[in-house]
Amino acid sequence: MKARILVSFKDSVLDPQGQAVRNALHTLGYEPIRDVRQGKVFDLELGGISRTEAERLLPEVAAKVLANVVIEKYTWQILED
């Protein structure tokens, strides 16, 4: 089974990396890119569990390990059974 977890800063937290990317893009003339937020993506390969189990596992792993919930939020999805 393939799954994906996205982790990014909460909206209330400043994202200087995203801003630096945006500035760099503007310098290169990519003006239409008004804003950039940068985050992390984790592509997971799961095995030996059911979809229901995966649906419990993914948010748990995201909240406990992959994201620091003081500053970050996450989303998850199962990509492929």
């Binding site: 200087p16 990396q17 630096a20 390990v65 500053i71």
Partner: protein, 229 residues
């Protein structure tokens, strides 16, 4: 007083801390292996700087799951002294032994240089040899030292006097420029409410010998020595 320096895979200031406490301070010091469940009867646990687990997920994020952290948590809960330096500070944040989180430095670059920090609270086991307002010259070396916490947390932390050090200029003034990494309220060192756990980004263990350029880190080391039980 017996000190224990925790070694995580990827720690790289463990030997520096060991040298500072053992040789510069002259106290019995031992390494504590992250996979053990034994604090070897130390009076103070040091979480050293470095890149535990490569800092690959987030600084300090994986180290917090090390076996030994169960004992460290218990030790801290019982009032034991814990000092986290740099990566050790980051681990303490991830462990929730200290409030907040670290963001990347405001200019998005790793920074290694001397900074000046101001003692904000001299009634702590880590600073009783300092005087409030004293300016210390101590090096930093980090990528993620930009302390952040939600507004209420910041208020609480300030209200409790938990901020131990702030980045300042050489005269002790807080300026935009001297807040080198962009930390909220220029926080450079922070303790828990109970006052027995402190994290700081500057490296006191790098400033304990005149040949290396500063001995100001001794303020922290000597203060700890005052806590002999």
């Amino acid at each position: 007083m017996k000190f224990g320096v925790v070694v995580f895979p990827g720690s790289n200031c463990d030997a520096d801390a060991y040298h500072a406490f053992k040789d510069a301070l002259g106290q019995p010091t031992t390494y504590l292996w992250h996979k053990d469940h034994d604090l070897r009867g130390v009076d103070c646990v040091i979480l050293p700087g470095g890149f535990s687990y490569g800092d690959y997920l987030r600084s300090g994020a994986i180290a917090r799951f090390s076996p030994l952290m169960r004992e460290v948590r218990e030790f801290a809960g019982k009032g034991g002294l814990v000092l986290g330096i740099c990566n050790g500070f980051q681990v303490l944040l991830e462990l929730n032994l200290l409030p907040g989180a670290m963001l990347r430095n405001k200019r998005l670059k790793f920074l290694c240089q001397y900074v000046t920090i101001r003692v904000e609270n001299d009634k702590t086991p880590f600073t009783r040899k300092g005087t409030k307002g004293r300016v210390l010259r101590i090096p930093i070396a980090h990528f993620d030292g930009n302390w952040y916490a939600p507004l209420e947390t910041v208020k609480e932390v300030e209200g409790n006097g938990q901020v131990v050090f702030r980045y300042c200029d050489s005269e002790g003034r807080l300026t935009e420029e001297s807040n080198i990494n962009g930390s909220l309220n220029a926080v450079a060192g922070l303790m828990n409410k109970e006052g027995n756990v402190m994290g700081m980004m500057p490296h006191p263990e790098r400033a304990v010998e005149s040949i290396l350029g500063s001995e100001d880190g001794l303020v922290v080391l000597h203060s700890l020595l005052e806590n002999i039980s």
